[in-house]
């Protein structure tokens, strides 16, 4: 028994160390830093209580970044979810070349975001393919390109994000669809239910757990959008996001570690609340069914 205990300790040591050194310790340090005016390059610092948090709520750059982040989340999540579900339904049966189509749809989501961002920066520039496309459908494209215009920059990045992620969520939906027994559909068909009725009465309700998973994962990921902003616009033209703000404030020029930590914790709380919201929304409905 005793030997087992020490073996167990040795076995869990890697996680224990990682947990304490790279998660708990930084979390606590960051929390405390949020209450100081600590700046990395300056030796002395002071406890300032809630001053950082108060300042953040009147910091127009931070508020704008938060606003853009919310636009990003609320704009991409519904679109991604609907599209990926649609694509999953589209390929969820046997047909020639199914494997190839599925693989092709999935490919963008395993490519590096940096690569995608670079390609789309080229596609979005003045005289690029997207400008060409919009001219074909009769829409006016911004004169300087989509990324150099405050009214189109953020939405262009959002569209790119949707494009990239639909394949990934499509796969998850496919797995969820597979787990729905065929007998249910058989029974529905016998009772005269059409395809649309089957979709809303059988498919969607039974996909709730998968939907919840996707919504939570996507929310956590989308709230932290950074790479695209860094590569494509550096936050200019109204595209700064929360994490980009944290990066700019804490890791460039002024190195305001304390101030940025407070901002990071505000974002943390927002993400936690948002995820909790999904759980509440989707769990409760399940009980009603």
């Amino acid at each position: 028994m005793k030997r087992s205990r020490s073996t167990a300790l040795v076995l869990v040591l890697p996680w224990l160390l990682t947990l304490v050194v790279f998660w708990l310790f930084p979390l606590v340090v960051s929390f405390l830093m949020g209450f100081t005016d600590f700046r990395l390059l300056i030796k002395d610092y002071h406890w300032v209580g809630l001053a950082n948090y108060r300042a953040l709520f009147s910091d127009s750059d931070f508020l704008k970044a938060l606003k853009n982040t919310f636009i990003f989340v609320l704009g991409t999540i519904p679109v991604t979810t609907v599209f990926s579900l649609g694509m999953a339904l589209l390929v969820n049966h046997r047909f020639k070349g199914r494997g190839i189509f599925r693989a092709a749809y999935f490919l963008p989501s395993i490519t590096s975001m940096v690569v995608i961002a670079l390609i789309f920066t080229n596609l979005y520039q003045r005289g690029g393919y997207v400008a060409l496309l919009s001219r074909l459908v009769g829409l006016q494209s911004p004169e300087n390109g989509f990324l150099y215009d405050s009214s189109t920059a953020l939405f262009s990045i959002m569209a790119m994000d949707v494009w990239m992620s639909v394949g990934y969520y499509m796969l998850i939906f496919l797995a969820g669809l597979k787990s729905i027994p065929d007998e249910l559909y058989e029974a529905a068909r016998i009772h005269g239910a059409g395809a649309i009725r089957q979709l809303f009465s059988i498919t969607l309700p039974l996909l709730k757990p998968v939907m919840l998973f996707i919504l939570v994962i996507n929310s956590i990921k989308s709230f932290q959008v950074f790479v695209e902003i860094f590569v494509m616009t550096k936050g200019k033209f109204d595209t700064s996001t929360a994490v980009y703000f944290i990066y700019e404030t804490g890791l460039t020029t002024g190195f305001k570690s304390g101030y940025a930590s407070a901002a990071a914790y505000i974002l943390f709380i927002i993400i936690a609340l948002f995820s909790a919201m999904w759980f509440l929304l989707l769990r409760r409905r399940q009980a009603l069914w």
Partner: protein
Amino acid sequence: MVKGWVFSALKYLLLIGLLAVMVFPLVWMFRVSLMSAGGSIDMKQIFNVDFTLTNYRDLFAAHNMGRYLFNSLFVGVTVTVGNILFCFMVAYALARYRYLCNKLLFVSVILVLMIPAHILIIPLYVLMVKSGIYDTYWALILPWLVNPIGIFLVKQYIESIPPSMEEAARLDGAGELRILLRIVMPLCKPALAVLAIQVFFTNWNSFLFPYILTSSDNVRTLPVGLALYQGYQAIDWQHLMAGSAIAVVPILILFIIMQRQIVSGITTGAIKQ
């Protein structure tokens, strides 16, 4: 009858349309990477047949691409191997040993999974600068050696294996280490393969932490190098796309070989939740 035919044609139209949309940007990337450098890109050039490999050659010869590639590979493989070993160890302990702390530890794994990574940006940066491992390979490797998703994945898998073989070996007098490595680990190969692919892919593509935790060219990984290429005077779109292609090709190859594991890794996690 006719309705079925029309329906099928529409379906294929939609499928192919989607395929074009999903695949075009990557095709464009490859096309631009093969165009001659030093001129502005004309979109019509996508139909040209001329191509050149000079952009690729330039990147390796004058822009440190070889180093970036090596760094990404080195860090990727190290982190993957580390995860295979350590996640397995921890997962085994959590699956097979029954102690109160184990339950707590497992809860800690789940909790950490829910914590958004951005919260680590400032503290990891400050801590690494202060401790001196900022801008070294350690910074790229140490924090990512034990991934909670990996622990979760492998633990689930181990729990589905009956412990009878381990017990038999224990009765025979075999040591714990022997049991772990010779008996259980081989049985876990499917889960470990999925884990390896997940970890390698995530690591290969990752940008945020490799960017903020390093600043020198010689420890830079491929995505970071690519993103920073934008500031170089000698790098135009042709070179940039060539660099992007270099970042994509290994992923493509791995994807073709290990498609099943990749898909299974993504879907298993989702369904179990």
